[in-house]
């Protein structure tokens, strides 16, 4: 079959040779293309793996524990069969909130300074510093929280007020961790604002600061908002800092100076110990992970939606 077609092509002159080459790519080319496609599908398999793992194990858990009780209970004590996830959720929220309180103002200040005020020279020094901050492993931040920030907090507010393990210290350091993310994403958004807008405002007699706050920031708002949301998602999923500095043992408290365990911190502590695979404790970790996944996934989608919907209009 292939031979006969080849003979046909040969007899048909130059034109048909071109056609034949286009129609029948070499098998090696096809093979490579297939291999590369397989590589691309691995990411889809990963997602399927994550969703399937979390769902199937959580289902085992929810067969024994009412989902409503799981979401509204305020005690997490697997030993006595109490699986209320709220203590873990509140601790996650408090640490993330403290982190955002640190990272948002400082990150925005850095972004504004870099995008609107800094000279090229200053920028070329500061940006690498931010990159270094972003590249430090989170375990190092955890160590920093426990050995540096906690003692400082305790000497400021008193040993009785601030626990040896506390959410405030973890939250502050988490703020430092997400600071480069906020700063660099917000700076990108500010820099993307067309120069003509600034020029127009300057021509109207606005000062540099008025240009920044009256024109640049409003037009970059969607990008900035997306950066904030992504940073929040990162804070919610951050593990090692809270595992080291925020304390062990789920506790329902709103006091930032008290010790409490976050969702991520709990997963790491329990799975780090000896855990039998067929226990409800094991399955409960997957239920927590599922909740965590839903929260961070939702925040990420929201962040990307905002960029897509409003980002194009501003640029």
């Amino acid at each position: 079959m292939a031979r006969s077609r080849q003979r046909l092509v040969l007899s048909a002159g130059m034109d048909s040779i071109g056609v034949a080459l286009r129609r029948r790519p070499k098998p090696v080319e096809q093979l490579i293309r297939g291999l590369l496609f397989f590589c691309a599908t691995v990411s889809v398999l990963t997602t399927i793996g994550i969703v399937w793992t979390l769902l199937s194990q959580s289902l085992l858990f929810f067969k024994q524990v009412n989902p409503f009780e799981f979401l509204t209970g305020i005690t997490w004590q697997p030993q006595i069969g109490e699986f209320g996830v709220l203590p873990l959720v509140t601790a996650t929220l408090i640490t993330s909130l403290i982190a955002m309180l640190i990272a948002l103002p400082v990150g925005m200040a850095i972004a504004i300074y870099l995008a609107e005020f800094a000279t090229e020279r200053v920028r070329s020094i500061l940006k690498p510093v931010l990159e270094v901050l972003a590249g430090v492993p989170t375990i190092v931040y955890g160590y920093f929280a426990l050995t540096m920030v906690t003692p400082v907090l305790r000497s400021i507010f008193g040993q009785e007020t601030v626990g040896f393990y506390n959410m405030a210290s973890a939250g502050i350091v988490m703020g430092i961790l997400i600071l480069p993310l906020v700063a660099s994403m917000a700076e990108d958004a500010l820099s993307a604002v067309p120069q003509s807008l600034r020029n127009a405002a300057w021509a109207m007699g606005a000062t540099r600061l008025e240009v920044t706050f009256g024109v640049v920031i409003p037009s970059a708002l969607s990008g900035i908002l997306a950066a904030f949301i992504l940073a929040l998602s990162r804070a919610v999923g951050e593990t090692m800092i809270v595992a080291i500095a925020a304390g062990a043992g789920p506790k329902f408290t709103l006091n930032p100076f008290a010790a409490a365990e976050t969702m991520t911190g709990h997963i790491v502590r329990i799975s780090g110990g000896d855990l039998s695979y067929d226990s409800i404790d094991y399955d409960s970790l997957f239920a927590i992970a599922l909740l965590l996944f839903i929260i961070t996934f939702g925040l990420n989608i929201l962040s990307r939606k905002i960029v897509r919907r409003f980002g194009e209009g501003a640029a």
């Binding site: 691309a40 990411s43 850095i110 492993p137 600071l179 992504l230 780090g272 992970a289 965590l292």
Partner: protein
């Protein structure tokens, strides 16, 4: 009248601008300072004075009551023979006869088995340097028997020593070997897959729903918290593929990390491929090269520097990851160094985490020293990336 009013307003607006600019600048400097404090804190913890107490003193247990400094090798052996339990003594003799050992080896046995030092308190570098009086006062008041010694926690024994339950002797050899083997496998799995996926998405993929779905999916995966990857690894690699990976082994850890950095590698490589001008591809295709020939001989070489940088960024992320490895099941204590991919594992960040969680000053010092090693390792890797990139750029230009 009007003019002065306007001038006053103008100067007020300008001043407000100057003040706020100053605020922005000082907050930026603050961030730089934080980095300094972070590094300073680690160094501060890695060196300093330690108060060491001994279970027994040499002059109390020695055969002739002499001080350690005055005793020669024979006296040391005599003391060891006199005090050591017969079974332990036999074990040492079987390993290497005492009279053939050097003085350093004898002192080591003496210290570990008989004198048994332990750190009761350690001070940071700053305290040791600038508050020496307070240190001495505290020492005399609380631990009159303890000896104050300068100690660098970053030492050869830390790098070469095996795990130990005693902070004075614990080392990170096993953790370093574990890190290297894990990262090597992660690299061999994640780089080909990641670069391949990026090439398909940038060079081959038609603009249809499937492609857009895969692309969105990759962005979403990049935002999934690392601990979720740990759960994935625990459930898939450790439990379901137990016949392949043998459970909580280096292989499981490496595969988990590979899946974790895959989206990062893909996105970085895509950025690199996007930066290659379209005209290069057109020129190659116009000369009759096939698509793969175009990619292989023209597109990839043109952006190899960027791909390598992206890949190394991904690997440094993998080196520093802790949470997923703890979840996958890093060992708390290794009895022997990992030598194959089916061995139980620990890595440098996991070791740091475990040491930080232990009570006592000495473990914190040790963790600080280990962090210093980790940071130097990462710094080395990143410098290597920059070097590689510069060299590649030069070659391309030549």
């Amino acid at each position: 009248m009007k003019n002065t009013e306007m001038a006053r307003r103008l100067s007020r607006r300008r001043n407000l601008g100057k003040v706020l600019q100053l605020v922005f600048l000082s907050l930026t400097i603050l961030a730089v300072l934080v980095l300094g404090v972070l590094l300073g804190n680690i160094i501060d913890r890695s060196f300093g004075i330690s108060a060491i107490e001994y279970v027994s003193k040499y002059e109390d247990i020695s055969a002739d009551g002499a001080l350690l400094e005055d005793s020669d090798d024979t006296a040391l052996i005599e003391t060891i023979v006199l005090n050591l339990r017969p079974r332990t003594l036999d074990a040492f003799e079987a390993e290497k006869p005492l009279d053939q050992r050097t003085r350093v080896e004898l002192l080591e046995i003496l210290e570990k088995e008989l004198l048994q030092p332990s750190v009761v308190r350690s001070w940071s570098l700053m305290e040791s340097l600038f508050a020496r009086k307070a240190v001495n006062a505290e020492l005399q008041e609380l631990w009159p028997d303890a000896k104050a010694r300068w100690r660098s926690w970053v030492r050869a024994e830390l790098l070469l020593g095996s795990q130990s339950m005693d902070p004075l002797y614990a080392g990170i050899r096993g953790a370093i070997i574990g890190t290297f083997i894990t990262i090597l496998i992660t690299m061999f799995v994640a780089l080909p897959l990641g670069v391949g996926a990026a090439i398909w998405l940038e060079e081959y993929a038609p603009d249809n729903r499937l492609t857009r779905f895969i692309q969105t999916n990759i962005y979403n995966l990049a935002g999934v918290p690392s601990i979720i990857y740990g759960m994935l690894g625990l459930s898939i690699f450790v439990r379901y593929l137990v016949n392949v990976t043998q459970g909580r082994t280096i292989l499981s850890a490496a595969l988990t990390l590979a899946v974790l950095i895959l989206p990062i590698v893909i996105i970085n490589t895509q950025e690199a491929l996007k930066a290659v001008p379209q005209s290069l591809r057109h020129a190659s295709l116009a000369l009759g090269a096939s698509q793969w020939q175009t990619i292989r001989h023209h597109v990839l070489p043109a952006c190899m520097d960027r791909i390598l940088t992206g890949a190394i960024l991904g690997l440094s992320r993998a080196i520093g990851e802790t949470a997923p490895l703890v979840v996958v099941g890093a060992s708390t204590f290794l009895t022997h160094d990992p030598s194959s991919v089916f061995d139980r594992f620990t890595t440098l960040p996991v070791q740091i985490y475990q040491w930080t969680s232990l009570p006592g000053d000495a473990w914190r010092n040790l963790a600080g020293a280990a962090i210093l090693v980790l940071m130097i390792l990462l710094l080395g890797l990143n410098s290597f990336a920059i070097l590689l990139r510069n060299r590649y750029r030069k070659e391309m230009k030549a």
